[in-house]
C-alpha cells in the first residue's frame, strides 16, 4: 500500500514540481544545497509549523547534516549515541546549549528567527551541523546530482524569490537569491552558484577519536 502511494506521489509530483538543478562555478552539480522559495504564496502552513523536527546525533555526527525548518517551529535533538553530546550554537538566529544523553531526551527547542544556526559539540569538536530556519513552507536540499524538486500547486504560480545556501559559502549568513517567475507547475530551473565554494571539510572519525 505504501509503495503504491509512493508511486502515485512520484507520478503526481513529477508534473507538479519546480525542478531546480544547482551547479557550481564550473558547472558541476552541487549536493547539499539548501533552496527555498519566499514570497506571499510560499509561507509555511500552520501544519508545517506545528510539526516537531528532529536533529539527531548518531556515530558522532549530526543527522541530518543540514535541516531546513520553517520559522516558529520546534526541533528536538535525540542522541542515538551511548556517549554524551554537548550541543551548542552561537549563531545570531538562535544561540543555545544542551547536554544530551541517550536515555534523557530534552524538550524541543523553538526556532523563531529566520537564519542559519550552526551547531557544534563541545566534546567532539569536529561535529558540525546546520539548521536553516526559513520564512517559507517550500524548501529542499539538492541531491548528489544537484537536483531538488519543490512541490507546487497551480494556485502558487507567479513571482517568487529563489534562495540558495550552501555550507561552503564564505559568508554563511548571506544566501544567494534569484527572482523567479513561475509560469507552470512543472517548470525546470538551472541555477549556477555565483561565488567560489570553500574546500570540503571531510573529517574521518571513528569511536577511537573520543579520546581527545
Amino acid at each position: 500500500m505504501n509503495k503504491l502511494l509512493l508511486l502515485l506521489g512520484l507520478l503526481g509530483g513529477a508534473s507538479h514540481a519546480l525542478e531546480i538543478t544547482i551547479t557550481d562555478e564550473l558547472g558541476k552539480p552541487v549536493a547539499g544545497t539548501a533552496v527555498w522559495l519566499t514570497g506571499k504564496s510560499w509561507q509555511a502552513s500552520q501544519l508545517q509549523q506545528q510539526k516537531t523536527y528532529s536533529m539527531g546525533q548518531k556515530d558522532r555526527a549530526f543527522t541530518p547534516h543540514t535541516l531546513i525548518v520553517p520559522s516558529n517551529s520546534q526541533v528536538e535533538f535525540p542522541n542515538f549515541d551511548s556517549i554524551l553530546h554537548h550541543v551548542y550554537s552561537f549563531s545570531q538566529a538562535k544561540s543555545f546549549e544542551l547536554k544530551l544523553y541517550r536515555d534523557k531526551p530534552l524538550a524541543p527547542v523553538q526556532f523563531s528567527q529566520a537564519g542559519v544556526v550552526e551547531l557544534g559539540c563541545n566534546i567532539h569538536d569536529w561535529m558540525l551541523g546546520y539548521i536553516l530556519v526559513v520564512n517559507s513552507g517550500v524548501y529542499g536540499l539538492s541531491d548528489a546530482k544537484g537536483k531538488v524538486s519543490l512541490a507546487i500547486e497551480s494556485s502558487q504560480l507567479g513571482n517568487a524569490q529563489l534562495n540558495i545556501w550552501h555550507e561552503r559559502f564564505e559568508n554563511l549568513d548571506k544566501p544567494e537569491s534569484l527572482p523567479l517567475t513561475i509560469t507552470e507547475v512543472s517548470q525546470q530551473v538551472q541555477y549556477q552558484i555565483k561565488q567560489p565554494l570553500l574546500d570540503k571539510l571531510e573529517f574521518l572519525t571513528d569511536e577511537t577519536d573520543d579520546y581527545e
Binding site: S82, K99, G120, W126, L201, T208, D209, Y211
Partner: protein, 415 residues
C-alpha cells in the same frame, strides 16, 4: 622526604565534588560506563615482576589461567556547562585482587567560539598515547599494550593541573586542528624505577593511585649504595617537593593524520629519598612522539616513539638512557578487527655503578583478532611473542634472555 601527596590531592578533589553537588544539584547529570574482560591465558612459569619475580608476563599463577583481566568503571558527572568531574576505577586480579582509581579529575571546558581553552585538575593520564583511546585508557586494538604505553600506564600519571589551548579545525573552517598543552604536577618522582630495574615489557596492567609495585630481587639491592631502596616502586609519590612539568602539542589533519609530541620532565631531584617508603626521586625526562594515519575508514597505522633518560642517587649512580617504539597496523572488516604490532625497547646503562646492571632489550610482536557480537559483547584472541634480555639477570645466575609466548582469549562486555 615529604609525605605522599596523592591521597591528599584526591581528598581535596573528592571534597570539592561533594561541595559542588550541593550547590548545583539541579543541573547535574551523570554517565557511568564500564568494561569487563574475562580472559583465558597461558600463565608463565616465571613469577611476574609485580609478585617480586623475574617474569615478564603479567600472569604467572596457575589459578589465574581463567580470570577477569580487568574491570573498569568510568564515570562522568556534569556539574555545569563548563565543569565536569571524571573518575575511573579499575579492578585487576593480579597480584591480589586490586581495586583502585586510575584517574580522578575535574575538567573545565567552557563553550568557545574561537580558540578553546580547557583545563584538568586532579590525577589523570597525559594524552601522549594514540594506542589507548578506549574506556579506562585501554586499547581497542590489542589486549597487551606496547611496552611503551604499558610503562606509561604503570609509572606515569599527572597529579596536578593541565591546560590546553586548541584551535579546533571546524571552528576556523580549517583542515588542521592544533593545540598546545602544558602541565605542572606533583608526585611521580619514582617514575623510571621500572625502566632501570626491569625494562620495558608489553602488558596491560595499569597502576592505581597509591599503588606499590614490586620487581625482581636484584642482586644490586643488597649493596650498601642501594640499601635504602625498597624492592618496589610507589610511582606516583612525592619525594623531593619539586614540581614536574610536561609540554605537548597535538596536530591533526581532517582527523586523518594525527601527531602528538610531548616533552615530559618530572624534575626529580636524584639526591632526594624518602627513608620511610624507601623511594628515591628519579630525574626522568623523555620525548614522546605519537603518530596515526587512517588510510580509510577501515585501515590505520599507529606508531609511537619515546626517547629519554632517567637517573637516581646523589652522584647519579643509576643513570640510564632509554628508547621505546612500536608500529601497529589495524584493519576492520565486517564485525572483525585485526591488529598487528611490532615493538622494540632498549635501556642503556651509562653510569659508573658496575654492580647495578640496568641494560635491557625487549622486542615483541603482537597479533590480535576481535569480533563484535553485539554492541556489548566482543570476543577475541591474541598472541604475543616477546624476546627480552636484561644484564641484571646474569648477576643472579639466570640466563640473560627470556622469551615468552603469551596467548589470551578474551570476552569483553561493555556497558
Amino acid at each position: 622526604m615529604r609525605p605522599m601527596i596523592t591521597s591528599k590531592q584526591f581528598g581535596v578533589l573528592v571534597g570539592s565534588l561533594i561541595i559542588s553537588q550541593h550547590v548545583t544539584a539541579q543541573d547535574m547529570s551523570a554517565q557511568v560506563k564500564g568494561n569487563v574482560s574475562i580472559s583465558l591465558t597461558n600463565p608463565s612459569n616465571t613469577v611476574a615482576w609485580h609478585q617480586y619475580g623475574w617474569g615478564i608476563s603479567r600472569f604467572s599463577d596457575d589459578n589465574q589461567r581463567l580470570n577477569i583481566s580487568r574491570l573498569a568503571l568510568s564515570t562522568r558527572l556534569d556539574i555545569s556547562s563548563a565543569w565536569s568531574a571524571h573518575a575511573v576505577a579499575q579492578y585487576v586480579p593480579d597480584p591480589n585482587d586490586k581495586i583502585g582509581l586510575t584517574e580522578a579529575y575535574a575538567q573545565y571546558q567552557p563553550l568557545a567560539q574561537g580558540y578553546q581553552f580547557s583545563a584538568r585538575f586532579g590525577g589523570f593520564y597525559p594524552r601522549m598515547s594514540l594506542e589507548n583511546p578506549a574506556l579506562g585508557w585501554s586499547s581497542p586494538y590489542t589486549y597487551h599494550f606496547s611496552g611503551l604505553n604499558a610503562w606509561l600506564g604503570e609509572e606515569v600519571r599527572t597529579f596536578g593541573a593541565e591546560f590546553e589551548l586548541k584551535r579546533a579545525a571546524r571552528r576556523f573552517r580549517s583542515k588542521h586542528d592544533i593545540s598546545m598543552i602544558g602541565s605542572v604536577f606533583k608526585g611521580n618522582d619514582p617514575a623510571g624505577t621500572l625502566i632501570a630495574w626491569r625494562g620495558f615489557v608489553p602488558h596491560d596492567r595499569q597502576s592505581v593511585f597509591n599503588e606499590r609495585i614490586g620487581f625482581a630481587p636484584l642482586k644490586s639491592l643488597s649493596t650498601a649504595q642501594l640499601s635504602r631502596q625498597g624492592q618496589y616502586v610507589e610511582p606516583f609519590t612525592e619525594v623531593d617537593g619539586r614540581f614536574g612539568f610536561y609540554l605537548g602539542t597535538h596536530w591533526s589533519y581532517l582527523k586523518r593524520h594525527t601527531l602528538r609530541l610531548y616533552w615530559y620532565d618530572n624534575n626529580g631531584d636524584p639526591r632526594a629519598i624518602n627513608y620511610v617508603t624507601k623511594q628515591y626521586a628519579w630525574d626522568t625526562k623523555f620525548w614522546s612522539l605519537a603518530w596515526r594515519t587512517k588510510f580509510n575508514a577501515q585501515s590505520q597505522l599507529i606508531a609511537q616513539a619515546m626517547v629519554g633518560n632517567t637517573a637516581m642517587g646523589p652522584t647519579r649512580g643509576v643513570d640510564n638512557d632509554f628508547y621505546s617504539w612500536f608500529v601497529m597496523f589495524s584493519h576492520t572488516f565486517a564485525d572483525y578487527r585485526v591488529s598487528l604490532r611490532a615493538e622494540q625497547s632498549k635501556v642503556i646503562d651509562k653510569d659508573h655503578w658496575q654492580f647495578d646492571e640496568n641494560a635491557s632489550f625487549t622486542k615483541g610482536v603482537t597479533v590480535n583478532v576481535q569480533k563484535s557480537l553485539s554492541q556489548q559483547w566482543r570476543l577475541g584472541a591474541e598472541l604475543q611473542l616477546i624476546d627480552y634480555e636484561a644484564d641484571s639477570r646474569s648477576a643472579v645466575g639466570r640466563a640473560k634472555g627470556q622469551d615468552e609466548q603469551i596467548w589470551r582469549l578474551s570476552a569483553q562486555y561493555q556497558f
